[in-house]
Symmetry: C2
Subunit: 381 residues, 2 copies
């Protein structure tokens, strides 16, 4: 294992996933430097890290060893940036404001299953919703998952009771790989009665988590887990969510990340659809009624149609500050290298790459050889 992979693994065992302080430190430092600080090997100029990290890291080699043993027993592998199969889209999380105190790309993921996460998530959709769904919600979740799987989309969800489980089962029924993102260790069967489902998912698809092997789910962990579901996919559909449902949190993440946000309506007389209707009403999500609608919305994301759609000022306002600056540093006709953009836009060398990549995904910038140009869509004048 390379030293960076080791450093990431070690660091993931002392920092609660989604801690925004980690994201901020990683802007300027390599994981190895933070691990060194956690180990208490403060050299001159080394960063200060939160006390809690140092406490958790007091016998870090042993903690790493335990996690590895547990991972081996559970059939998990460590996947992190730089690895084949690492989904680059997760770095979008480094550019969004915290929600409920969590943000940032994960240091890595523990993975159960042999499939390639980057390949599976390349064309994927999140289907999430109420644990206590009605039979209507369960039926819609299965149908939607079946149609999306049939259209070649990987269904990604949280393996919970209700809508999540039905979505995974719909994909499994179609013989399509599906990805479950857990709020506990990827070796834990949670909920317990979904043990067989999780084993089945890991056969053709993947069970993943940023929590260390053996970790139990906790309330905050469901919320930080949701950001991964939103970031891994190109769009999120919510089916049945009461007013304060956690799946609305996944929708907010998708919204912040510029992914397609969708909601499947239900009877207005059903409490389980109130959160979905509120999101649709507030313009936080687009109404979908079928897999066909979902695919249509997702295809709308393609570069072609994005090129034609004018950029609204609100889209610009919703870009993270670094991407806004990078946009200002680009020109219509004269391609600029990333480092030139960094100089013009007053961005650090570490900031400019991800910012340009984000602009490219949103069809606001395009790569010409080793240079970057502003795309036509970015004309907000």
């Amino acid at each position: 294992m390379s030293s960076t992979r080791q450093d990431r693994l070690a660091l993931s065992l002392v920092v609660e996933p989604g801690d925004p302080r980690l994201r901020d430190l990683l802007l300027d430092l390599e994981p190895g430097a933070i691990v060194a600080a956690v180990r208490g090997r403060h050299a001159r100029g080394q960063p200060r890290v939160p006390e809690a990290w140092s406490e958790r890291g007091h016998d870090l080699d042993r903690t790493v060893e335990t996690a590895r043993a547990r991972a081996a027993a559970g059939g998990l592998r460590w996947l992190c940036p730089g690895d084949h199969g690492w989904p680059g889209a997760l770095s979008d999380l480094d550019h969004v404001e915290p929600l409920h105190g969590a943000t940032g790309a994960p240091l890595g993921l523990w993975v159960r299953g042999k499939s390639n996460l980057a390949a599976l998530s390349q064309t994927s959709v999140a289907i999430v919703g109420a644990r206590e769904c009605t039979t209507y919600g369960a039926e819609c979740a299965s149908e939607l998952a079946i149609d999306c799987a049939d259209a070649g989309y990987t269904v990604i969800s949280g393996a919970a009771y209700g809508v999540d489980g039905c979505a995974h089962r719909g994909a499994v029924m179609m013989g399509s790989p599906t990805v479950a993102v857990l709020a506990c260790g990827a070796d834990i069967d949670y909920p317990l009665s979904h043990g067989a489902l999780l084993a089945r998912i890991a056969e053709d698809g993947l069970v993943v988590s940023e929590q260390a092997p053996g970790q139990r789910p906790m309330k905050g962990r469901f919320l930080s887990r949701n950001r991964l579901i939103a970031a891994l996919t190109q769009g999120t559909v919510v089916i049945e969510a009461a007013s304060r449902s956690g799946s609305l949190n996944t929708l907010s993440w998708a919204d912040q990340l510029g992914r397609t946000t969708m909601g499947l309506p239900g009877p207005v007389t059903s409490r389980q659809s109130t959160g979905v209707h509120a999101a649709l009403r507030g313009g936080k999500a687009v109404l979908v009624t079928s897999g066909k609608d979902v695919v249509e919305e997702m295809r709308g994301l393609g570069a072609d149609s994005a090129d034609e759609a004018p950029l609204l000022l609100t889209d610009f306002d919703r870009l993270p500050p670094t991407a806004q600056k990078a946009l200002d540093g680009l020109d219509w006709s004269e391609p600029r290298s990333a480092s030139e953009v960094a100089v013009v836009a007053h961005l650090s060398a570490r900031q400019v790459g991800p910012a340009l990549a984000l602009l490219e995904r949103r069809a606001l910038a395009s790569r010409i050889g080793s240079g970057w140009l502003l795309s036509r869509r970015a004309d907000v004048g």
Copy 2:
């Protein structure tokens, strides 16, 4: 009866309501001049009118007499522009493109009931939907009507089976006046089994129609009737509409007229909600789940919030050509009289008044004494 009122009444008996040719002739001519042409009294410079009008007008005095007798027997009165109680909002129909071959403000309306139509329609909402509604649709229509009536809105609908009837009954239950707009004569009980309901509606509210007394409903008349429902109200809600439902036609009218367009969702598994969902998905309507939502949307129409909302270019594109020209004839700082605007904007004296009134309703122009100014919201630069 003034000669203009008489002319309008006579003309209404020879022209099929909504005939766009009438709207065009009325741009330059008084109703009296058209009646004279219909009577065959062609003087030099008098307009040509369609053959069918002349045929229907071959014994016009007698036709008028018959209609009046029938109206008297049915307890109907003739209400037309200039009368106390005439809803000025109907003239918005003179500025929209034909839908299914119909457009234009009605020459007048036959009215059953003593209430003031202008007063009732001042704060009103259309609730329309499927004749063959489900129990869910029926329940939602009643509930919504009850809530809207409770909030002080007059419920206006088409008195059909299903959603329409439930909407009227909800308002009646609340002791609130409601207005039924029929596609047949206002003295005809259609559907027959709604006779008691129509009588009840006429007690506190009104039963109105632009069809002459005694006229039977015909397919095209439902479509042209729908434009009146949309124009009389500040917003239209559709509850249950299959893909080609007539109530989607009412929604299109409301959309063309710049009224608030709303749709109440249902289960995606119900065929009766497919048209509503398609409208919501296509951005033709805003999702509402309750009377509270409806009132919120309708209040959003108020001048205050319109002043804050920026005008989108698409709003400008959707203005009728006369209003677009009038907008060009206005200034930010120097108030202009209607006739000055007419000169600058190359509009006729007859066109400029309604065009300015439309701009005022959409908060794009404001009246300062006898002059007109461009409002801040019209800044599309």
